[in-house]
């Protein structure tokens, strides 16, 4: 799985498609407030989808470590959490840039922006925790428990609270439906680029995570830990 090629080539093909057709696909003209920036749907939004998927995979490996004590699972959990954070950070930066031109300022105190910042800070603390522990087994165990907590904190911060109050993001009170998966937010043309984009960006995240895992495995074998 780590060394197979097909899904890596698929990632490249899907992203090449996203980065070409994403600029050329016909976009709907509703009230025209977004204009061409609606194309950010193919870049900013998949960062968050990718982050959720990668952090979920990290959670799975954290739980696997707690059940088996096999350090390889901890290596996997750390790598996927790291890549998930990269995606989340890119998402929040691109979101702030988009907000600057769409909402007037990079940080408007929108509930989803605040929620995203809190969620990312909780995950940054995961790495601070790891850095503070020297013993490999203890580090793996404590960070696995914290990983579980951090993952479940994603739900109130990103999905629940922003929908309970008024929000500039789609999905808040006063707007309809499910952000990102709502049929009304995107035309069917756009959805043809959006779903491949999500898969492509996620697979890229998985690829980079596997590279990190493989480097760690080689290092651990050399140091005799594994």
């Amino acid at each position: 799985m780590l060394r197979t090629k097909w899904w890596k080539v698929l990632s490249f093909v899907l992203l090449l498609y996203t980065c070409t057709y994403g600029f050329l696909v016909k976009i709907p003209k509703l009230d025209d407030r977004l204009k061409e920036s609606i194309r950010n749907f193919f870049f900013h939004v998949p960062m968050w989808f990718g982050m959720m998927i990668l952090l979920f995979v990290s959670l799975v490996y954290a739980i696997k470590y707690l059940r088996t004590g096999n350090l390889v699972h901890d290596i996997y959990a750390e790598a996927y959490a790291s890549m998930g954070l990269v995606f989340g950070t890119l998402g929040i930066i691109t979101g702030a840039l988009w907000a600057n031109y769409q909402w007037g300022s990079p940080w408007v105190g929108d509930p989803k922006q605040n929620g995203a910042a809190i969620a990312l800070l909780i995950y940054f603390a995961y790495f601070v925790l790891r850095g503070s522990l020297l013993d490999v087994e203890k580090r793996a165990r404590l960070s696995a428990v914290y990983n579980i907590f951090s993952f479940f904190m994603l739900f109130p911060t990103l999905w629940i609270l922003p929908r309970l109050t008024e929000s500039l993001h789609p999905g808040g009170q006063g707007s309809e439906g499910n952000p990102g998966l709502n049929g009304k937010d995107m035309s069917s043309n756009m959805r043809m680029v959006f779903y491949p984009a999500v898969i492509g960006w996620t697979l890229l995240g998985v690829w980079i995570s596997t590279l990190r895992i493989r480097i760690q495995l080689v290092e651990f074998k050399r140091e005799g830990i594994l």
């Binding site: 890596k8 980065c19 493989r214 050399r222």
Partner: protein, 54 residues
Amino acid sequence: MLQLLQTQAIKQEGFMVQNGKIFLVMTIVCIILIGIFLYIARIDKRLTQLEKNN
């Protein structure tokens, strides 16, 4: 009058300048994408060699 038409014609030439230069943006993004993929493909290959040597 003729000079005005001529300058307008020169301004709109070229593939990249069409559509509000979107093709230019698209090409730049594709170059960045290909560059990133070539880089991580290289890392992947070197890692595979490293794993084989061990």
